[in-house]
Amino acid sequence: MKDTDFRVTNLEAPDCAQHCPCEHADPGRRLTLRAFAGAALVAGAGVTPLPAAARPAVGDLLVADDVEKDPVAVKASEVQAGKPMLVYPFDPGSKQIRNDSKLNKIVLVRVEESDLDADSKARAAGGVLAFSVVCTHQNCEAKTWVAADKALVCFCHASKFSVLEAGRVLAGPAPRGLPMLPLKLQGDQLAVAAPFTTPPGGAT
């Protein structure tokens, strides 16, 4: 372990869709822009972004976070009330699990869709909402369910995020809400409908 730089596996493509004025553009165009931005970075940095570290793409399915290979897609019915479930996205074609960056880790929460505002309702599928589990303060995991507040709480510094209000900060040092990952149903499986609503991760 002496001269290894542990950071070499951490290279990431920027997520253009989060920064371009193309939030509501058609998915095809968004993907193109994304690929273009990724290519620009590659040219500049002289490295290839690892698909396992690339951000979730539209159409990705979800797999339990402890699965290393042969991913089996999570079904909406597997997400139980009051029990947040941790997943990573995977590419259904290549079966590549995007678990090489913690910033891709997602927490699924079962909700009553009637409790949601319009934005959140549009991002829910099968009664399930998806958030980046990575706290926007210091990258720890906001995965503890607090039933009284219908909130997710971070294990490091106790930032609290409202699940019914699109991940808004209720308490703690987090500077902004948890990014959401819009979902859709493919049969009974949960799939990614759009990129993260805001970039995941906090200050380092």
């Binding site: 290894t4 910033l103 995991e141 380092t204």
Partner: protein
Amino acid sequence: MSRILKALGAALLSAPMAGTLAAPGPYAPVTDARLQKPEPGNWLMYRGNYAGWGYSSLDKINSGNVGKLQLAWAFATGQGDGHQAPPIVNNGYMFVSTPGAQVIALDAKTGEQLWRYKKELPADLVQVHPTNRGVALYGDKVYVATVDAHLVALDAKTGKVVWSKPVGDWKAIQYMTLAPLAVKGKILVGSSGGETGVRGFIAALDAETGNEVWRTYTVPAPNEPGGDTWPGETYKNGGASVWITGTYDPETNLAYWGTGNPAPWQSELRKGDNLYSTSAIALDVDTGKIKGHHQYHWNDAWDWDEVSSPILIDTEIKGKKTKTAVHAGRNGYLWVLERTSDKINFVDAWPFIYNNVITGVDKKTGRVSYDESKRPGMTKAVKFCPSLWGGKDWPPEAYNPQTGLFYIPANNHLCAELPKADPATPYKKGDLYIGYPLDGVLGSLRFGEKPPETIGELQAWDLKTGKQVWTHKFPTVIWAPLLTTAGKLVFTGGANDRMFRAFDATSGKVLWEAATPSGVTGVPTSFEIDGEQYIAVQSGWGVDAERMQAGMDSLGRKTFVPQGGTVLVYKLGK
């Protein structure tokens, strides 16, 4: 262009040149001889000397004139979270580290920035404790241990990186928060991570090259001495992490370190003493070999990390001259140990705050006995005192050879309730390895029988007699690193009222106080330039002080403490 504008333009162009080139003069390399006998005017390491006293022999600022102390200069770090590092000073150069593994070099007299180093941290780095507790100086370099588990050597004059070496795996949430210990051509560091299932270690790197010279695990393998105190494979994720700089005795060449809690927290899953968790250990600096140890409490179940290193004091104990190693424990006992060339012997221990778990201390061995009904675990919720943060957490005590007193920044009358622990769950790299429901841990703080009127206590103890000489009580909890001086003063902040204070070291009377921009949990230091004495400290609330305040908030004692770091330097007004 008018002449005025031209003149202004010329002034603007020339000003930065003059500004950036002004430096306090040639840099004085830091040698072993200087570290063993630091000049009174400098503050060359974490606690000022190898013995860990937190003592300055400067006395121009003293109990007679400290009321005239005024701000000499202040410098905003631009960082949030816990600013705990001491301003370290070598012949006019000041080095301050901040959260986010930054090092700022300043002209100690003026506060002008000489250079700034920012470590580029991984985008998905998890920072459980966003803080840094200071740099080490050796030769012409400055050393900083980082939250992504690197040791970085910087050129003291320019801030340029000389080398940067990984000493742990940040993806496993190994991270470093301590000031490194520079001794005999080596830089010694250890890794935090008792809550993430690391196997604690202390490593020595060559000061010149960064090559690892030795690495000693604080949790022995089954074939090593103490290995039989861990069942099966549990030692592999046994914790006993290292948070705070060791002390050093040049006479025996032994470095003394404190170790953290064993992991996971459920003590049923690792039956045995779990050496060398919650212990003091003495390591040979040349080889890393563990020469002696004393475990403050065995098979910990209360998260009472004994993180601070014992303080080395040669004094009389019960009429007998003793080379001691003294430690105010998170378990609430004040430990007086004897250091020899190949052992740490128990001398005496007594409680300095309320503890209802420990029922006795064996007079000969120092082994504690427990009220086992106060042991949290996997069968039921349990309430116990003191709280998870204990009687004294990491903030360092201080020893003043002028007063002969030992000062402790304590928290008293606080308890905790842990819920029933989780069933055994396997270790998972990059995740917490605690074993309790998180909301239960975060919400564990409790009062005792009734809400106490005071909690924080600055205590002064006479080690010769074992008597408490004075105590200053605070209405709230404190996170209060101490500085004591030959001017018969104790300086500290620590409370949530943003104050930085000077106490009479003999009587405990508050002699001076000043409000700061945030809360002060930084280690104060003192130094001298051109015959003038200065007191320096960082203000910047965060980390566990903030967590514990959140616990107090939930108990109904709400206080808002703003965040943001400032280096503050004081001197006497005319």
